[in-house]
Symmetry: C3
Subunit: 183 residues, 3 copies
Amino acid sequence: MSRLILITGGARSGKSAFAQQLAESLPGPHTYVATSPVTDPEMAERVRKHRLARENHDWQTLEEPLDLAGTLARTEDCPTVLVDCLTLWINNLMYRATNNRQPLTEEDVEEHCRAVIGAAHQHPGTVIFVTGEVGLGIVPENREARLFRDLLGRCNQSLAAAARQVTLVACGLPLHLKQENTP
Amino acid sequence: MSRLILITGGARSGKSAFAQQLAESLPGPHTYVATSPVTDPEMAERVRKHRLARENHDWQTLEEPLDLAGTLARTEDCPTVLVDCLTLWINNLMYRATNNRQPLTEEDVEEHCRAVIGAAHQHPGTVIFVTGEVGLGIVPENREARLFRDLLGRCNQSLAAAARQVTLVACGLPLHLKQENTP
Amino acid sequence: MSRLILITGGARSGKSAFAQQLAESLPGPHTYVATSPVTDPEMAERVRKHRLARENHDWQTLEEPLDLAGTLARTEDCPTVLVDCLTLWINNLMYRATNNRQPLTEEDVEEHCRAVIGAAHQHPGTVIFVTGEVGLGIVPENREARLFRDLLGRCNQSLAAAARQVTLVACGLPLHLKQENTP
């Protein structure tokens, strides 16, 4: 059974860099699963920088906006997988559901999370998920934004319950919320 | 003198569920003080779910949007009281004050908090308050929202200073900010 | 080489009061460096309250919205300097850059931070910086706000990497993210 690790934090907290360093401290080759469909120049620039930061290492990059469980099943020969990030994954699931006129519910998110957790537990290596904390501001006026933060919060709770390590990153520094030792 | 406990966290952080489990680990019967006036379907659905989660236990529910001090005085025969949540309480106080054309100030909030803390300290059992962290986003453009986050922050500081235990919940996991042992 | 301390937290988390108490526990005389240009009545009231809170102590106040490195160089005879806060400093740098039609970038922020860190390290005493966490809410719709939270996050990471102590304040209570002992 794999090690499942969850790294969370706010925007520009250093969570992705922390997760990447953690991954690079573990056996390679490494797989980076990017959940971002690149849709605007701001995003493209971020992706470019993230890619540069990895380029001197033995990383392969997969882009997968939706099917994380299937992607994890296809990376079982890779000892360390980094999924960056669940925030965009939930966003993508929400967007697809809305397009299908079937708004995503918390129950849907729990089901998607169960599949991802299952695939992560099947994985023989370490799977590190990066996610975001978006629930510590004022209640958003926008109904979609309120739904998004509820769905992401639910996702984070599910993953954290299944994870062996959960770390909140602030100012680039880790704060461990959960740390179970290997039996 | 009672034990006063403060549980804080962001939206969908698992703070209410954590507070409820903590309450259920303490002697019953339990009283749940709901500060939410149910004003819209989204809220009604949340209340319904919260109520379901409690229904197999010896909980009685009181709804009290404003007079928390008086409500605590009336529950002194109940060893464990859970007040969920201060976020809505401050919101309700603010709304009433605005209707009375006397906008709520930080000094008003401190006075209300003193009364609630006094009632909690008179209570012979354990009083657990759930609150929210709303100050870790961008400064809201809306003036009312800015005032609300200042008032709630003030309230949280007052309660935390008086509490024996203060716990921040993130991803469903507790991070203890304060933990005093019983003398 | 000075002690560099970073105190962070959300709005009304008690971070400034915590930083001030920390400063007052260290040798005086103390210098308070205010980065706020007082531009509106709401701000003026905050500044007035902060000033009142300091008035019984041996504080001198300097107002400096932009040149923190130069200001630190001019306070080397003062054993304890409190800079409150970096949130407004980044805001001021951003505003000036926009006025000059040269939008501030993360690279610019890193350069400004290097200068400030250099000045703080030259300082013979303790330099305490207060900053804010603004990245834990929903992605702001406003592009300027998105840029601001990225720039501030970058600034906080730079300062935290250089600091000997980094403390997150929530509900008025400290959570230490980093604490290095003096060699």
